[in-house]
């Protein structure tokens, strides 16, 4: 009977090898995604963190945006003293709910030892002081102003404003209206109610997702492609006749106005649809696509923000991103910011920022630096070039033409006394056209034009009127607040 006994033992060895293999599968192969990708089911990191104070989050001027307070049970909980002001960019961190925004992106640094593998080591050396503080680039004054002005302009559907420092990529303002108060969402009932509000969608960050058609503000992209590719000059003559057929369907200008043959500068300052649609068709989907890609279209923003909470800007068909070379894309109408374009506000602010910074697009960031409890900076988020979009000459030429838009064109409402402002208006029709229809209104630009300190995009949804009349005045007040 000894032979079958030995074989039986061999079989049991195999069975145990299977157990060891399965344990290896869960502890090594699948460990990474089980630990990070199942945030609603697996909250071990967060639970571990509640015994340790999480680092505070501060605005650029030191205002506290988020901090941890200890309750009677010795458990730390997040408080957001500024309420809804920074709800969208900063997000929340609650054990009951999980994390979002900057809180989620910089969780490791904010949580300190709590969520990293050096717990035992830290306990041995008695270092349980928690995470580092995060200083952001957000400006509370301008943030507040932006949210108030957008809410006034469009109380129902709201809108968004993003202001960047074009030289560093620092995000100074990221406003999305309607907002929400992160202190409130820790109650599951309140969170469900906000999540169920299909009409206003207060939990959607309109600066990063939920894009609208950018309308004529997109003509800056078409203009850059036209000049930088060498196909056109600022004084090139273009056809501004009304009702030129684009993709077989006549395209009207605003108020059906016909401009005849005009130069490119005039075409931009008067925002002539037919001229830019013909330029885009002339350049073709491939050239347009190349410049859009350099501006950041077609991919999720390189922002320090959770990727699943951002969407790529571009042409969408049936909910899927399609390239401008696709046979479903109407390149002419895309060139004037219509067609199937869905563009969140950050992307349009980046378009303005790239022009402002001499053609170099800086990688956007909300985080500025981490500071430990002794005030030492432990990590700094350095400015980095994301891409070189255009030559310096092109950027200078486009700047001149955008200045003309504010000086003598549709963007007059953005004029700031004693400063030259460069800008471009946008008015995208949401549904059928006619008098009194609601539009998505845009204004993008930068100031001062000769030494840009801010580049911005302001968008207001579902309002009667034009970008120049509604969005440009908001931009003007933001410039006055931020440039001193």
């Amino acid at each position: 009977m000894n032979t079958p006994i030995r074989r039986l033992f061999g079989f049991i060895v195999l069975m145990f090898a299977v157990l060891l293999g399965a344990t290896t599968w869960w502890t090594v192969v699948r460990a990474e995604d089980l630990n990070t990708d199942y945030t609603s089911q697996n909250r071990r990191d967060l639970l571990r963190g509640i015994k340790i104070p999480r680092g505070a989050i501060r605005a650029a001027d030191g205002t506290i945006i988020a901090r941890s307070r200890k309750d009677a049970e010795g458990v730390y909980e997040r408080r957001y003293p500024e309420g809804s002001l920074f709800g969208h960019p900063v997000g929340y961190s609650f054990v009951s709910l999980g994390q979002s925004g900057i809180e989620a992106f910089y969780n490791q640094e904010l949580a300190g030892g709590a969520s990293t593998t050096d717990t035992i080591l830290r306990q041995l050396v008695g270092n349980q002081d928690g995470g580092d503080d995060l200083r952001t680039t957000l400006e509370p004054g301008a943030q507040k102003l932006a949210e108030e002005l957008i809410a006034q302009a469009s109380p129902e559907q709201g809108g968004s404003a993003v202001v960047l420092d074009p030289k560093t990529g620092a995000v100074k303002v990221m406003a999305s209206v309607p907002g929400y108060d992160p202190n409130a969402v820790k109650s599951p009932k309140a969170f469900r109610a906000l999540n169920a509000d299909e009409l206003r969608k207060p939990l959607v960050n309109r600066a990063l997702q939920f894009g609208y058609a950018p309308g004529s503000s997109f003509k800056v992209v078409t203009l850059v492609a036209a000049l930088d590719s060498g196909e056109y000059q600022p004084d090139s003559r273009v056809d501004g006749t009304n009702d030129v057929p684009i993709s077989g369907v006549p395209l009207p200008n605003d108020f059906g106005e016909s401009f005849g043959m005009i130069d490119l500068t005039t075409a931009l300052s008067k925002s002539v649809n037919t001229a830019f649609a013909q330029i885009a068709e002339d350049l073709g989907g491939a050239t347009m696509g190349r410049y859009m890609e350099r501006f950041g279209f077609g991919a999720k923003p390189e922002l320090d923000y959770p990727r699943n909470a951002m969407s790529a800007a571009g042409e969408y068909r049936d909910g899927k991103l399609i390239p401008p070379t696709s046979r479903f894309a109407d390149v002419g109408r895309m060139g004037i910011g219509q067609d199937k374009l869905q563009v969140p506000a950050l992307q349009m602010a980046q378009v303005a920022a790239a022009v402002a910074n001499g053609g170099k697009l800086m990688r956007p960031h909300v985080g500025d630096r981490f500071v430990d409890e002794d005030g030492r900076t432990t990590k700094r988020i350095e400015p980095e070039v994301q891409s070189t979009v255009m030559s310096g000459e092109t950027a200078d030429a486009v700047t001149q033409m955008m200045v003309a838009v504010v000086e003598s064109g549709t963007g007059g409402a953005a004029k700031v006394p004693g400063m030259t402002v460069a800008g471009k208006t946008g008015t995208a029709e949401t549904a059928e056209t006619g008098v009194g229809t609601k539009n998505n209104l845009w204004f993008i630009g930068f100031a001062p034009a000769d030494d840009p300190q801010v580049a911005f995009a302001v968008t207001v949804k579902d309002v009667v009127g034009f970008g120049g009349g509604v969005a440009a005045p908001i931009a003007k007040q933001l410039i006055e607040e931020l440039v001193k």
Binding site: L8, T24, A31, N35
Partner: protein, 447 residues
């Protein structure tokens, strides 16, 4: 060095493990996120549970030294090693449980000594084989006559006392099979008729084995216990294989089991639910199901992933939610349910990592190796079959629970021998250990 001195020396690693483990847990206790009873309060007296356990190990060694001088010297130290793993983890979960578990070991030692004295000549067991078989089956089905505990007929509860008769039933059934197969193993092969190239044993001799098959099916049907029936049926097939050396018997048996299981799975909703939860534990619908869903399995897998290669260290696993985060109206809310019984393996992996798990599996495998060695050394068929059968049912129990927790097979709540919390389990496994040592003592004395 004689066998007993080797045994004494081999107890040193277990002692070190208990001492270091208790010290580590005691020190880190105040930083934990609440134990099972929702508190981090710990009494200094609890450190004595470790000392009590070590004293028991030594006492057991003395018992063996005087009663079974020739028995295998490594079996008991290996078991002590397992028990140390378990006791430290249980201490980490709740110091009150550790106290009760140490007391269970005391009872277990009593049962161990009693088994050795009463069954000194264990071959008398053969005479009572049918009585033992009836007792075994009776124990298996006893819980069906009591109200369910945690949704299954696995244990009976009388007041505060809870027992799992199946732990003892497994030993009785192996004893019966060993004695029955010793008599009939020749006949099953010789008197069988050839049919389609397979030897079919005469029904007369195969009948009682069909009863065991039936019992496994009934277990599956009434007690809704995939794991236990797999354990019993697996032991049956293994013992038939050892007795007859005919792999064809095993294959036929396996087909019978699969056919029965498939037939039943379609009929019994509970089993289908278990299988669904097993196939996709992270599916939100199954995960959020109030009862019978996949929450427990999913959390067990998260706990293992959290452990990684080296583990979070003793006390590093997150087992409970603080009161403030409990869903409304719940008094105790555990993140990982049953951490001290069914899911103790997940907790060990969480705190000691893949490395600790590999260590634990190696200790189990060494015990299996010693058991099989005893079977090989034994002179008579009954001893061989008994040793192989006991070892096999032990190994299968380990496979059923660890396989369930690591999603190799559908989950069934059986204990992890010598590691999980539970008096019945500790006592039954001490009986199993005593029988193996008795067989070993006889075999090595004669050698």
């Amino acid at each position: 060095m004689n066998a007993r001195n080797r045994e004494l020396l081999a107890l040193v690693p277990a002692s070190l493990l208990v001492a270091a483990g208790f010290a580590a847990v005691f020190i880190s206790r105040k930083d934990l996120l609440g134990g099972l009873d929702g508190t981090n309060e710990i009494s200094n007296a609890s450190l004595t549970y470790g000392g009590m356990f070590l004293a028991l190990c030594f006492a057991t060694h003395v018992v063996i030294r005087f009663t079974l001088p020739h028995a295998d010297p490594y079996l008991f130290p290996l078991v002590a090693m397992l028990a140390s793993f378990g006791l430290v983890e249980i201490y980490r979960i709740s110091d009150a449980f550790a106290g009760k578990q140490a007391f269970s070991f005391l009872l277990g030692l009593g049962v161990f000594a009693a088994t050795i004295i009463v069954f000194r000549d264990y071959q008398v067991l053969e005479r009572y084989r049918y009585v033992i078989a009836m007792v075994g089956l009776g124990l298996l089905f006893l819980p069906s006559f009591f109200p369910t505990v945690n949704g299954a007929h696995l244990s009976i509860r009388l007041g505060s006392f809870e027992a799992q008769p199946a732990e003892f039933a497994k030993i009785a059934i192996v004893v019966f099979l060993a004695s029955y197969l010793r008599d009939t193993r020749q006949l099953m092969v010789i008197a069988g008729r050839r049919f389609l190239g397979i030897t079919v044993p005469p029904l007369k001799h195969f009948g009682p084995l069909l009863v065991v098959w039936g019992a496994a099916m009934v277990l599956l049907f009434f007690i809704k216990d995939i794991g236990s029936s797999l354990m019993f049926f697996g032991a049956l097939l293994a013992m038939i294989y050892v007795a007859t050396n005919r792999i064809s018997f095993v294959l036929v048996g396996l087909l019978l089991f699969l056919a029965g299981a498939m037939l039943l799975a379609g009929q019994v909703g509970h089993i289908q639910g278990r299988i669904d939860a097993w196939q996709d534990p992270f599916d939100p619908a199954l995960y959020n199901q109030q009862t019978g869903g996949s929450y427990q399995l999913a959390q067990g897998l998260f706990a293992q992933a959290d452990g990684g290669i080296l583990g979070q260290g003793f006390g590093g696993a997150v087992l409970d939610l603080p009161r403030a985060y409990c869903p409304d109206g719940q008094v105790i809310c555990s993140l990982l349910p049953a951490p001290h019984t069914d899911f103790v393996y997940a907790v060990i992996v969480n705190e000691l990592g893949l490395v600790g798990a590999a260590g634990l599996l190696i200790v189990y495998l060494l015990i299996v190796q010693r058991g099989m060695k005893i079977a090989v050394l034994a002179r008579d068929s009954f001893s061989k079959l008994l040793a192989a059968g006991l070892t096999c049912v032990f190994a299968l129990q380990v496979f059923v629970i660890i396989g369930g927790v690591t999603k190799v097979i559908p989950l069934t709540g059986v204990t992890l021998p010598f590691v999980s919390y539970g008096g019945s389990s500790v006592m039954a496994n001490f009986v199993l250990l005593a029988l193996l040592l008795l067989i070993s003592n006889k075999a090595r004395r004669e050698a």
